[in-house]
């Protein structure tokens, strides 16, 4: 954080090992204090989101549950009901219920909003609708993924996740026992050796215990992120070992057809004189046909059908169920009903499979309740470690200033510099922010003496 030549004067002469230790400590402290609020926020929203399915099952039971009867009405009739209720809306998605007690869902866009209409598939009648903006779990997800602040928020979350890795690495280096003196203070907290030691151990020891889980959550969450994640996905998809295109990033195939072969829909204003030849041609497949294709191809029952919005669009069957092995993305030609692409878990490359497992584990769905509880324990651990870390710093810090140890510049500690460079390359946002910190230090901290004193730089 500091590059100034003054350090040589300021910091007491110590062995280079101690100096490196102080530099690592300094970085760990500043990174920790800066990213603590975000990490706590991510841990809290993550803890809630783990139980999304259970929470929504309770919140929306009036929309979800139907009494099973012998026969379901055709999808087209369900759409007619939606069309009657919202005459000017556009259907974008249809989700048949995954079992015989579950309603079907029709997602529509009206002029101003996106709604989900719940239909009883046995009567074809609406059970009510939800504004997709109002769904609390979607809000939680939005906070967790992008702080409800779009791209800027997405990058901030990614930055916090990447810096959490820096915190893990620097924390590990600070914790790593230099002499073997038993496991007290290493793997078990020393609670009866005075307040200072207890305070330190209550940050360090739990942090070590959760470090593996935290690293796992960060690494499995990063493929979602907008910058690191999208680049990662593009690189792995390009090698043939990632997700096939369109599952995560990339375009779906198109319904390849010349416009002249498609039947025109006459506008309401037109008279009977529409040229007959223009009305002759292929018509899009109906959702009834698409559901039959889905039944024929076999797909996990909680799938959704995305309805094409363009003349050359495709119907997309998509399902990301609790277990990665059940995932599927199927693209269907809008006019012929031909399966243009059919990507299952088995068709993912090896990296794609690993990432898919990572994501279901991250969401806590792969192994059900045990998975959820394990992830919850890690989240609660993160909150505890962050708070105990902040408490430790608050209690130790002098009244004036940050209380960071005076330490040599990053550039002067070869081994730690190397670690930071590697992290900065693997996680470019870390690299950019290290550069930003360095610029801040060079242009402001080193030039304004009061700031310099405050940072103990």
């Amino acid at each position: 954080m500091n590059t100034g030549k003054t350090n040589a004067v300021k910091s007491p002469r110590k062995s280079s090992g101690t100096n490196t230790y102080r530099t690592i400590w300094r970085w760990h402290l500043y990174a920790g204090v800066i990213f603590a609020p975000l990490l706590v926020l991510l841990a809290i929203t993550g803890s809630i989101y783990l139980f999304k399915a259970e929470i929504e099952e309770v919140l929306y039971q009036d929309y979800y549950q139907v009494a099973p009867q012998d026969e379901k009405v055709p999808v087209s009739e369900q759409l007619e009901e939606v069309n009657r209720l919202y005459p000017d809306s556009v259907v974008t998605k249809y989700r048949p219920g995954e079992n015989n007690t579950r309603s079907s869902e029709v997602t529509i866009n009206t002029d101003s909003e996106s709604l989900t209409v719940f239909i009883n598939p046995y009567t074809g009648k609406s059970m009510g609708q939800l504004n997709n903006e109002d769904r609390i779990m979607d809000k939680i997800e939005e906070i967790h993924g992008e702080l409800m602040a779009g791209t800027v928020g997405d990058r901030l979350v990614e930055l916090a996740a990447c810096w959490a890795i820096v915190l893990l690495v620097t924390g590990f280096l600070l914790w790593f026992p230099k002499k073997t003196k038993g496991l007290a203070g290493v793997l078990f907290p020393r609670l009866r050796k005075g307040k200072k030691i207890a305070m330190r151990d209550l940050h360090v020891v739990p942090a070590v215990w959760i470090s593996g889980g935290l690293l796992f959550l960060i690494l499995t969450g990063l493929p979602w992120s907008g910058f690191w994640g999208d680049n990662f996905q593009a690189i792995t998809t390009n090698t043939g070992e990632g997700y096939p295109p369109s599952v995560w990033i990339g375009e779906a195939p198109v319904s390849d057809l010349e416009t002249k072969d498609i039947a025109e829909v006459p506008w309401a204003a037109e008279t009977l004189d529409v040229p007959v030849s223009k009305l002759q041609g292929l018509v899009p497949q109906s959702l009834d046909q698409i559901v039959k294709i889905a039944d024929r191809e076999g797909i996990y029952p909680s799938y959704s059908i995305f309805v094409p919005q363009e003349p050359d669009g495709v119907y997309t069957l998509s399902v990301f169920p609790p277990k990665a092995e059940d995932e599927a993305t199927i693209h269907i030609d809008q006019y012929s009903g031909a399966v243009l692409a059919d990507y299952r878990y088995d068709n993912y490359g090896i990296i794609g499979k690993v990432v898919a497992w990572g994501i279901t584990l991250h969401k806590g769905s792969q192994f059900g309740l045990i998975n959820q509880l394990a992830s919850l324990a890690i989240c609660l651990g993160i909150i505890f470690v962050v708070i105990s870390g902040i408490y430790l710093w608050w209690k130790r810090k002098p009244k004036k200033g940050m209380g960071g140890p005076a330490a040599p510049a990053l550039f002067k500690t070869k081994s730690f510099l190397l670690i930071m460079i590697v992290l900065g390359i693997v996680f470019p946002l870390v690299g950019i922010s290290i550069a930003a910190v360095w610029l801040f230090d060079w242009m402001i901290v080193q030039r304004i003496s009061s700031v310099k004193r405050w940072f103990n730089a």
């Binding site: 390009n238 018509v283 109906s286």
Partner: protein, 156 residues
């Protein structure tokens, strides 16, 4: 020294901000389908009580088709007052199939070609007009896609 560091830093930042993009042919690296393509040919105008021929030309993206596994034609009037059930079309060679029809009433009709080959199954649906459309039929068309009725499926 510092200027050089600054230069290196900016080069580093620019190079990582220029994101990687997906190859346009990336799909070729993964599982491929061989979707059957059907082109339907019919006369520009069809009169009632007149015999006309419907033709389907089947192709596949990678190889040319000789004879497909099955090709059936099915025709119905939009209100299902007339319904000619699925029937095997005549094979003319090189993926070309045809069938003759004669329809007694004017109006809005559909032809559905049920075809399958090498695991790809398609059912393109062609809208066509015999003689003139009634006003009611035109209004139906204006309402958008014609509603589904359980018709063709029971013949499977």
């Amino acid at each position: 020294m510092r200027k050089r560091r600054l230069l290196l830093l900016s080069i580093f930042c620019i190079s990582i901000l220029s994101a990687c993009s997906l190859r346009s042919d990336a799909a070729d690296l993964y599982k491929q389908e061989n979707p059957l393509q059907v082109e339907i040919a019919m006369p520009d105008s069809i009169a009632a009580q007149e015999t006309f021929t419907m033709q389907a030309v089947l192709t596949e993206p990678t190889a040319s088709i000789e004879e497909a596994n099955f090709v059936h034609f099915e025709v119905w009037k939009h209100d299902h007052s007339i319904h000619l059930p699925m029937e095997e079309a005549t094979f003319l060679g090189k993926g070309v199939y045809e069938m003759d029809f004669q329809l007694e009433e004017e109006g809005l009709y559909y032809l559905e070609v049920h075809a399958g080959n090498n695991g790809s199954i398609v059912s393109p649906r062609q809208q066509f007009i015999v003689g003139k459309l009634s006003e009611a039929e035109l209004n139906t068309l204006k309402e958008g896609p014609v509603k589904e009725q359980e018709s063709s499926e029971k013949h499977h």
